[in-house]
Symmetry: C2
Amino acid sequence: MYRKEIKVVDCTIRDGGLMNNHLFSDKFVNSVFKAVNASGVDYIELGYKADESQFSRDEFGPMKFCSEKDIAKAIGKEEKKCKISVMVDMGRVNPDDIIPQSESLVDMMRVASYVKDIDKAIDLVNTIKAKGYETTINIMAVSHARERELDEALEQIEKESAVDVVYLVDSFGALYSEQIAYLAKKYKRILKTRELGIHAHNNQQLAFANTIESIINNINYLDGTILGIGRAAGNCPLELLLGFLKNPKFDLRPILAILESDFVKLAQEIEWGYTIPYMITGILDLHPRAAMKMRRSEKKDAYLEFYEQLTNEAII
Amino acid sequence: MYRKEIKVVDCTIRDGGLMNNHLFSDKFVNSVFKAVNASGVDYIELGYKADESQFSRDEFGPMKFCSEKDIAKAIGKEEKKCKISVMVDMGRVNPDDIIPQSESLVDMMRVASYVKDIDKAIDLVNTIKAKGYETTINIMAVSHARERELDEALEQIEKESAVDVVYLVDSFGALYSEQIAYLAKKYKRILKTRELGIHAHNNQQLAFANTIESIINNINYLDGTILGIGRAAGNCPLELLLGFLKNPKFDLRPILAILESDFVKLAQEIEWGYTIPYMITGILDLHPRAAMKMRRSEKKDAYLEFYEQLTNEAII
């Protein structure tokens, strides 16, 4: 698949950081940056722009905050070829703290929002865009959105926002490819003047397949992470995505090298990826939080009890 | 997805046995049989019908041979609700050893064949069909077949064989959903009077997605295995398939129970499933044997060297 408009966004450090409060070592973050930078991937998302008055550096690693100094350290001595992205969660960032893009190492800011908060998201994204950044709105948990409200939110984004890219986000890993195709067509129909993106989760081992389905349906911004690292079942594996995309600008080898040097060990230290509890929340279209809690408990493999508990709750 | 013609074929013991010379304990085989039998799955494939003059019971477990006695032990005291399948590899079975179906616990025999051996496969399948069994021909490694030869093989099967079901087998886990759709349409067009089946491998985390794509393209026989166990990257996870199929005859709970009781432990004892070397052979459309050998060596995580070795060989 070769289409020059396609942009790959590596979210290894950002989404992976959700599994360890972003407590990656500086060396690890720099190694991932170097690998992604060398692979020809277009963007690397390093973390969140969280308000330091709300969150403590004692509890969270630097990539929760992504100050200019934090980002400079992540880049180190490398020549920056890929663009840098950070995510901002509604209500967890102070817009006044955002400096003009011309003074920043950050190229793109992504605003994560539920459908119900779209007014606030548009307001925030317009502020950020005015400061010179590329911007996205990532509409989370789209599998839970009421269709009419989603339509209205998309219309409002098209009319009122200055955003560059709107993301379809399957937060719960609940969507099948046919549903991805349906939503992608809807987004395209309403968001006539914007680019679209896909951020998939792997609860049903469909993150890569759903990303391919998105490409087929004219989505150009593709999120992936090395070895699929990310919250709960994780994301679309970057190595699979680069293997699929035939654009010669991509080089799989730096990603294979860091998989070997750092991710074999990391996978023994932090759990992410397909497990039965995440599959169950995916099939039931639920937030993975109950499964994440269970995986940290002594009952981490009590699959049947977990399934019966969730299906019984769903009936009540 | 509900279509009454759909049949699910569990291959846990058969394809999983390729990773340990079928050396499962009798108790484990019986537990899997009980779980699959209780789940409403239509068929369970227990192993191979291998010629005892060619293979030794000292080296291979009972499910390499699947004598009537072996199968009776696998069923134990259960009331048999699912049908029983065994696979026969061309040249590794003595057709004279096959007793009439009316005297056997086996309901279905599946003949695995490459395109080039299709004459022999048709001959064998006709012999087996005449003995009263349901039959399939599983055309292996379809991603390596020359298109004209595949077309001719399919035409020959339609004209000369008594087979019930013809399987599309992505042995190397190399095919994307669009290619599955293309092949499924071709099979359907030529094999007008037969049912079709899909057996997918998970090298690119596409086994489940490709099985769904097959369903969309009117393939009715679907292979799956518990936790995706199978050769190398393994197969389509049965638990995902049952979660997708909405036929009320299926019950996920017995599968969750055995995942919990037996597969957590098994996954620590035998390796199967998505790893980077299997991904690499999948992307390069190669047999996983080099990756399997590497995973058993001290260089099991030397991904970059492995990739460069295979891509260099491919150039020469």
